[in-house]
């Protein structure tokens, strides 16, 4: 009888731990980071795991006894990266953003600079305040 109860507790504990944890991106306790990405072949939303400059993409990730899966809501995001790729230098990336804004909106260089700052800062909305 006690053995059955112990077994039930163990199964419950295991299933609780393995319950999927939806995430839209998260810094994990071990210092690695999860981000949602969209597979450019299947269009499915997946998770990118980043650790020490290396990235791996998968439908789910296990960390600290938890099973992370992409948030269902991520399908509503029209644009998601398909992975992480080299930006050469911050200056190159910034100039690329400016060029995209100037070309897309015929905006002045000053406006493009201001908007490029906003775009870059939006990627750190969880650590800085921006409005």
């Amino acid at each position: 009888m006690k053995r059955d109860r112990d077994l039930r507790d163990l199964v419950k504990l295991y299933s609780d731990e393995m319950k999927p944890v939806p995430t839209g991106g998260k810094k994990l306790p071990d210092g690695s980071v999860l981000e949602v990405v969209r597979n450019d072949v299947t269009s499915k939303v997946e998770l990118l795991h980043w650790e020490d400059g290396e990235s791996a993409i998968s439908a789910e990730f296990f960390c600290g006894g938890k099973r992370y899966v992409p948030s269902h809501e991520a399908v509503h995001l029209k644009w998601l990266p398909s992975g992480a790729s080299s930006y050469l230098s911050t200056r190159d990336l910034f100039e690329e953003l400016q060029a995209f804004i100037v070309l897309g909106l015929n905006a002045s260089s000053e406006s493009a600079t201001q908007l490029a700052h906003f775009c870059l800062a939006s990627f750190f909305g969880d650590v800085i305040a921006l409005f």
Binding site: G24, K27, A74, K78, W79, S85, T113, C119, F124
Partner: protein, 292 residues
């Protein structure tokens, strides 16, 4: 915070939707329809009465709203205000962008045509985030030459630029004119006039001062500025309280404040903040003018 041409604003928000983090194009300010765990960049085409209440939690990480439990909704937001009049005091920490009517229309077809480029940019921006998250978190970038909310906005934007001092330096230029405008605005407001009056009284080395006397000097300063408004002691008291200078009953002559060392130091600090003219040179021999 976008103002100006509405078509231009829609176009601009659509383009920002391509190159910001987890962008959501929204037609209103509801937060309950937005997945909190995505920490989206909210690109809102229409301001409404809900914005005033939402400005603080959207703007400041850590301040939650009560919506089926406590929710963190902070994140980047671009909001087209149009003709809607926002009242929140938190508005001053926003970055303002007047949308010119000359912007080219960025259509859904443009988005499709640029899909490859957008995907490349998203991938590079993601790598930038991942590589620099820790550096941004510990960044102490600052532009001490700017003041008030301009300085805060400069800090926020500059902290996100890693390993590019040129780009980081340009943040100060972007905010220079806004800073000058807000300095002028601050120095000509009632708060500034009352502080200027208190600075005069500090320099007279008075141990205490009645509200009526502060009002008298403030009114003289207002007349100098060709204002017809006359401040009453009660109004002076309310403005002083807002700035941390709380009056008390001094004697049979009524309420006022003691000008102890601590109060004089605060008055001088406030004077610097409001750009009080007499503090630019400072009074020789005044310890607070020297320390400010």
């Amino acid at each position: 915070m976008l103002s100006g041409d509405s078509m231009g604003a829609a176009s601009l928000l659509r383009l920002l939707g391509c190159i910001t983090y987890h962008a959501l194009l929204l037609a209103d300010c509801a937060t309950n329809s937005t997945a909190y765990e995505l920490r989206p960049t909210r690109l809102i085409l229409q301001a409404d009465s809900r914005v005033d209440a939402l400005l603080a939690p959207l703007q400041f990480p850590g301040f939650a709203i009560s919506a089926r439990g406590l929710r963190q909704v902070s994140g980047a937001v671009a909001l087209y205000v149009g003709d809607f009049e926002l009242r929140s005091r938190h508005l001053e920490a926003a970055l303002f962008f007047p949308v010119p009517p000359t912007l080219r229309f960025f259509s859904p077809q443009d988005e499709l045509r640029n899909a490859l480029k957008i995907n490349e940019l998203q991938n590079r921006l993601l790598q930038y985030r991942l590589q620099n998250l820790n550096a941004v978190m510990v960044s102490d970038f600052d532009v001490p030459t700017l003041s008030g909310s301009s300085r805060v906005v400069a800090q926020m934007l500059g902290q996100c630029i890693v390993d590019a001092p040129g780009c980081q330096g340009r943040v100060a230029n972007l905010l220079q004119s806004r800073d000058e405008e807000s300095r002028v605005e601050r120095s000509s407001g009632l708060d500034a006039v009352i502080i200027e009056a208190l600075v005069v009284l500090c320099h007279e080395q008075r141990p205490s001062v009645h509200l009526g006397e502060v009002a008298e000097i403030a009114n003289a300063l207002l007349t100098r500025n060709e204002e017809v408004l006359k401040l009453k002691p009660r109004k002076v008291s309310a403005i002083m309280k807002k700035m941390g200078l709380i009056s008390c009953r001094l004697d049979s002559g009524g309420r006022g404040i003691y000008l102890l060392r601590e109060q004089c130091a605060l008055i001088h600090r406030l004077g610097s903040h409001y750009g009080v003219a007499s503090l630019v040179q400072g009074l020789p021999g005044c310890p607070h003018c020297r320390d400010k």
